[in-house]
Symmetry: C2
Subunit: 333 residues, 2 copies
């Protein structure tokens, strides 16, 4: 039986952190058993809001690839590939831009939010406005039917499917499959300070390469309940980052529930719950960090994984491109 | 000495007509002597406002290529290539979209005019808004420094050069050359009815494949001076399409000036000037039509010309793409 094709990946703008682990990486470890998984190192998409700093985008191709391998992505079961080296993605992007209006792109809620978040104002790079069409190209080039996305990105998959329907309508047959968004149950992990989503630029993240001391320092600084001044006082669990992380990473759910009850009742201090989280995170990250260190001493091996994956992805995406050009009736030589 | 590189071409939306001959084709015949000339069959650009009808775009790839060869474009001196089969053009387009803002594209006077002319309203295909970036990709991929354009398209070359300067600034060196717009002295030829630019869709054009009868019919129907009712009356030369065409196509300029004087004075009838123009156009088109008929019986030869040209253009554009990706500092495997 053919396994469903899944496309996922990351913009190469920084090393991955435990937020990525919780939100996507650990799901991808499971997907490689029963899906044909493609992992895109999205350096071209990274440029849509980093055109001023291509060096950052370049540097992080290797960092993200290291993160993938370090957490256990198996290049024999998951194809890791580099977006900028897959011409068919750009070709399909340019084609799809003819099948979507500027007004439709501007109405896309994800794009609207992200334009606001980035403070672009009137100076939106055209590539940024157009990236939903590029994402449609990525998804369809692999004929992916399953696409894991954050909750706020579901409109992008709807946009992809609109383009798919228009292409299929011009072709007069089901040339491309529609894709389904998979939204992970666990929402986005808050940053260490509890205020925003976890992000490296906010100094708010625990990277997968964090040292034991960095992990401990982050846990010590972590936001809990500012009104929980004495151990014997009742404390709040909602918005308490330590408990959010314990919910996410501690495999002993019963123990976490027990601590929550004691914390809310009064009598459980922050230092105790932080010690528990520190143990959990140290245990989570230690093998990843170690594997990452080993891999980073063999850059040629990592490069070879990217090369082989990109080669395989190129065959796949070139085939789709040709099918689409022929299917909608363009001149093919 | 290296010859300057010139890029030009046509959207494949219809066979070419004598307006194209006057405005561009005959210049291209001269350029092949002292320039390295690339002629782009712009099927992808044709899609930016013909996405609903790819069959038309496909059909006219062959028609335009036939027109090129029929007028005397020599594939050994001019490289005829097919845009949709040059991935580097799409890849550079997608890259350049990050170096231009949506607001800048919307301010482009050519785009503004064309959006109005096409009646897009709010429903502008994103590909249409973005085509200046695609054109910048076309020009720079060939490192063309000379680009013949209509007067109304000069802003597109300015846009290209803005992108070139931004890319060069990120690269920290002159990676790409700026291009110079060459605007042909003869303006755009009016249509047969004198009202608009010559265009096939307006039934207003004389195609390069026109039969003798079609040419004569078009000349008979041609707009002259509506107030010139009797032969002995003085007639107007300005706005008189017959004289505009004689100015453009009759090689005996002195004879045309003489006719103009007699027409303005009174005593020269429309039938006389039309007979002259008919002779001139029949003589112009007869060898082109004949050559075109011969070529159209050898489609494999024409296809081979396109294939070989596209292959050569692919080498060229792939080299530039790699240089640009490396030059701005992206990850290259």
């Amino acid at each position: 039986m053919t396994r469903p094709i899944i496309l996922t990946g990351d913009r190469t703008t920084g090393p991955l952190h435990i937020g990525h682990y919780a939100g996507s990486l650990r799901n991808r470890l499971r997907f490689q058993d029963d899906h044909e998984q493609f992992l895109l190192l999205a350096d071209m998409q990274a440029l849509t809001d980093n055109a001023h700093d291509p060096a950052k985008v370049r540097r992080n191709v290797m960092e993200v690839a290291l993160d993938y391998l370090a957490v256990g992505i198996d290049p024999d079961r998951t194809t890791i590939c580099l977006q900028s080296h897959l011409p068919a993605l750009a070709e399909l992007s340019m084609l799809y831009l003819n099948f979507v209006t500027v007004a439709r792109l501007e109405r896309n809620p994800t794009i609207k939010d992200e334009i606001r978040a980035r403070g672009f104002g009137r100076d939106i790079p055209a590539g940024f406005l157009c990236y939903p069409a590029a994402q449609a190209a990525d998804i369809t080039a692999f004929k992916a039917t399953v696409v894991p996305v954050g909750e706020d990105q579901a409109p992008l998959i709807e946009q992809t499917n609109e383009i798919v329907r228009r292409i299929n309508s011009v072709a007069g047959r089901d040339l491309l499959p529609e894709a389904q968004a998979i939204i992970p149950r666990s929402g986005r992990l808050p940053g260490v300070n509890g205020k925003a989503k976890m992000s490296k630029s906010g100094g708010n993240a625990i990277p997968l390469s964090a040292t034991p001391d960095e992990i401990s320092a982050a846990v010590r600084a972590m936001f809990t309940d500012p009104d929980h001044l004495k151990v014997e006082d009742p404390g709040k669990v909602e918005g308490n980052v330590v408990f959010t992380y314990l919910d996410t990473f501690d495999e002993d759910a019963a123990a976490v529930e027990d601590m929550k009850a004691r914390y809310q009742h009064g009598g459980l201090g922050d230092s105790r719950i932080k010690r528990r989280l520190d143990d959990v995170l140290q245990a989570l990250i230690a093998p990843i960090r170690q594997h990452r260190e080993e891999l980073s001493r063999e850059p040629d091996h990592v490069l070879d994984v990217i090369r082989r994956g990109t080669e395989k992805a190129r065959d796949r995406t070139e085939a789709t491109k040709r099918e689409v050009l022929e299917g909608i009736g363009l001149f093919v030589i």
